[in-house]
C-alpha cells in the first residue's frame, strides 16, 4: 500500500507510512514488506506469528487511527448537540457503513456493533430465540463448531426447551451434506454453522447450506470469525440471515464485533439488553425502543473500537480481498505440503477445502509440549482443544497444535514452523 492511498483514507494520519511498504508484487502484496506495517514485528523481529486464528496482529494504520480519534475527535455518540459529538457520531456511523461494505449488506442498518462473535451469537440466541422459537423446535449446528456456537444454544435449550441437533462430518473431515440434509426437519427453525472451522480450517459451503435450510423454511446464522479475515464475504450472495464476526481477527481492535442481520428480521426482534442509546421514549410505565441497529446497542458503544475496525477494513480492502484469499490459499497449500513430510505428523482432515489453518497431532506428543518447543524457537502457535472439544472428540484427540495464517506470514514462517516441529519430534520421540 502506498502512502498516497493510505493518506487519502486517513487525511489526518500523523505518522507517515514508509513509501515502499507493502507495495504489490505479482500476487498482490509481499508479506515480508507488509510486516513493516505491523509494529509488533518491528518490536519482535524474530517472531514467527502463527496464531492469527486466535487474534490477528494490528497494522499501524489501525493503531494510529484509534489514537488519533481519541486525540482529535473523541466525544460520546448520538447525544451531544455540540460539534465534537456530532463529528464522533459521524465517524462511528461511517464505520458502520464500512462494515456494510465489507459484508456487502444491503443496508447499514443491518450492521449491529457488538463486542465479538460470541456476543453476536448470544444476541440472536437471546433475542430472536425466545421470540420465534418454542419448545420442540430445533436448532441445527455441526460438529465443526466453536464453543461459542454451541453453548448459547444449550442455554436457550435449557431456557425454552428447544432441541439442539448436530450435523456430522464426512470421512474427509468436511461437513457431511447428506447427513446435514437428513437432519433438517419440519421443526428446524435455525441452522447455526461456521463458515471456516477454527480448529481445522475446513470451509463450509454456505450457499448450499443456505439453499437447503431455506427450502425447509429455516433461517441461517453463519459464524464468520475465521472466514472474514480470509475470504471475501458477500452476505447477499451467500443468502444467509445472520452473519457474525469479530474485529480482532480481521486486524482490528479487541472488544468490537459485528452482527449482520437481515433488516426485516432485526426489526421483528425484541431488545436483548436495556439501557441508554436503544430507546425512543422512556416512562416508568413503558418504553418505546429504537429501530435496528440501535435497538441492540444499549449503552455507550465501543466507539473507538468501531472506528478502529473501520480502519482495519480499509487496510484489508486496500490489500484486496481476492489477493488475501490467494495468499491464504497458496500458503495453506505450502504448509500442508511441508508438514505432511514430517514423519508421524497427522494433519486434521478438513474436507474438500482447507483455508488458513493447519491443525496437527505429532505422534501423540502432547500439544503443550510441542508448543513449548516451538515457543523456544520463537514460533507462536495455539495448543489445546481450540474451544472445540466436541470436534476434538470426533477426531479422537484431546487436542492439537494449530498454526493459523495471516497476511504477514510467508513460506519462511512455515519453514521455521516445520523445523521447530522436527526438533519437537526428536525431543519427544518414543
Amino acid at each position: 500500500m502506498t502512502t498516497a492511498s493510505l493518506r487519502s483514507v486517513y487525511p489526518a494520519a500523523p505518522t507517515p507510512l514508509s513509501p515502499e511498504s507493502g507495495r504489490g508484487l505479482g500476487r498482490g502484496f509481499d508479506p515480508r514488506v507488509l510486516r513493516r506495517e505491523f509494529p509488533i514485528f518491528v518490536n519482535n523481529p524474530d517472531l514467527v506469528f502463527l496464531d492469527s486464528g486466535a487474534s490477528a496482529q494490528k497494522p499501524r494504520s489501525v493503531i494510529d487511527r484509534i489514537a488519533d480519534y481519541y486525540r482529535t475527535d473523541y466525544a460520546n455518540v448520538h447525544r451531544g448537540v455540540y460539534r465534537l459529538s456530532a463529528r464522533s457520531t459521524e465517524l462511528f456511523e461511517e464505520a458502520r457503513e464500512k462494515m456494510r461494505g465489507f459484508l456487502n449488506a444491503a443496508d447499514s442498518r443491518e450492521i449491529v456493533f457488538v463486542r465479538n462473535t460470541t456476543e453476536s451469537i448470544n444476541l440472536v440466541a437471546q433475542s430472536w430465540g425466545p421470540a420465534f422459537l418454542k419448545s420442540g423446535d430445533e436448532v441445527l449446528i455441526s460438529v465443526l463448531e466453536h464453543h461459542s456456537n454451541i453453548v448459547p444454544w444449550q442455554l436457550l435449550r435449557d431456557r425454552i426447551g428447544i432441541r439442539l441437533v448436530v450435523a456430522p462430518l464426512d470421512a474427509t473431515g468436511g461437513l457431511d451434506l447428506a447427513g446435514f440434509e437428513a437432519r433438517l426437519s419440519q421443526r428446524t427453525r435455525l441452522v447455526a454453522i461456521t463458515h471456516v472451522a477454527n480448529a481445522t480450517g475446513a470451509v463450509v459451503p454456505i450457499e448450499t447450506v443456505v439453499r437447503l435450510a431455506h427450502q425447509r423454511g429455516a433461517k441461517v446464522l453463519v459464524d464468520g470469525s475465521q472466514a472474514a479475515p480470509r475470504l471475501p464475504v458477500d452476505v447477499q450472495a451467500l443468502g444467509c440471515d445472520f452473519y457474525a464476526l469479530t474485529g480482532h481477527k480481521v486486524y482490528g481492535p479487541t472488544g468490537i464485533g459485528v452482527l449482520y442481520g437481515r433488516y426485516d428480521l432485526l426489526l421483528a426482534m425484541p431488545p436483548w439488553q436495556g439501557g441508554g442509546e436503544m430507546i425512543l421514549h422512556v416512562t416508568f410505565d413503558k418504553t418505546e425502543y429504537q429501530e435496528p441497529p440501535h435497538r441492540f446497542e444499549a449503552g455507550t458503544p465501543d466507539i473507538a473500537g468501531a472506528i478502529g475496525l473501520g480502519a482495519a477494513v480499509d487496510f484489508i480492502e486496500e490489500l484486496g480481498r481476492d489477493n488475501i484469499l490467494a495468499h491464504e490459499e497458496a500458503l495453506t497449500g505450502y504448509g500442508v505440503d511441508r508438514l505432511s513430510h514430517i514423519p508421524g505428523l497427522r494433519l486434521l482432515d478438513a474436507g474438500q477445502r482447507r483455508l488458513g489453518i493447519l491443525s496437527f497431532d505429532l505422534g501423540g506428543v502432547h500439544p503443550h509440549d510441542v508448543a513449548q518447543v516451538l515457543d523456544q524457537r520463537r514460533v507462536a502457535v495455539r495448543a489445546g482443544h481450540h474451544c472445540a472439544q466436541p470436534l476434538m472428540e470426533w477426531f479422537g484427540l484431546p487436542g492439537t497444535t494449530r498454526a493459523s495464517l495471516g497476511v504477514y506470514n510467508d513460506e519462511r514462517d512455515i519453514d521455521r514452523l516445520a523445523e521447530a516441529v522436527e526438533v519437537a519430534r526428536e525431543m519427544f520421540a518414543r
Binding site: 502432547h366 489445546g384 487436542g399
Partner: protein, 155 residues
Amino acid sequence: MMDLRELYQDIILDHGRHPRNFRTIEQPTHFAQGHNPLCGDRVTIYLSLDGDQITDAAFQGRGCAISTAAASLMTEVLKGKTVEEARTLFAQFHARVTGDEPIVLPESLAEEAERLEPLTGVKAYPARVKCATLSWHALEAALKGGGPGAPIKTE
C-alpha cells in the same frame, strides 16, 4: 530465555515416555481426580494406606510430558511415606516450583526432594507450573476426601 533442556531434562522425558506406577489400584483406600481445564489434562491418583502410611500409589490419565513425569515421580517418592510426610513434600515442592519462600525439610526427606528436583525447571515457565502440580493437588484431594468427589481445582 533458558535452555529448554532445563525444563525437559532427560529424567522428565524418560518418565514422560515411560511413566512408573501408571496403573489403577484395585481397592484403593483413597483416590481423587485432578483436572486442568486449560489444557484438558486429567489425572486420577490411587492410594493404599495402612494406618498412616502410604503403602502404594499409582495414577492414570493423560497429560503432557511434564504432568505425566510429575505424577510418575510423585508416586515413586510417596511409597512408604506417612501422610504427614507426603504433605510436607508437597508444600516444599509447591514452594520450589512457584518460587515461594522455601520450606526447610527434615533430613529424612532430603532424598525425596532431590528426586523431584528435575521438575523445578517449570518455575521459569509460569504457564507450566500447573502441569507439575496437578497430580499433587489430586493427591491432597484424595487424602482429604478419600472418595471420588468432584474433580479438584489446580489453584
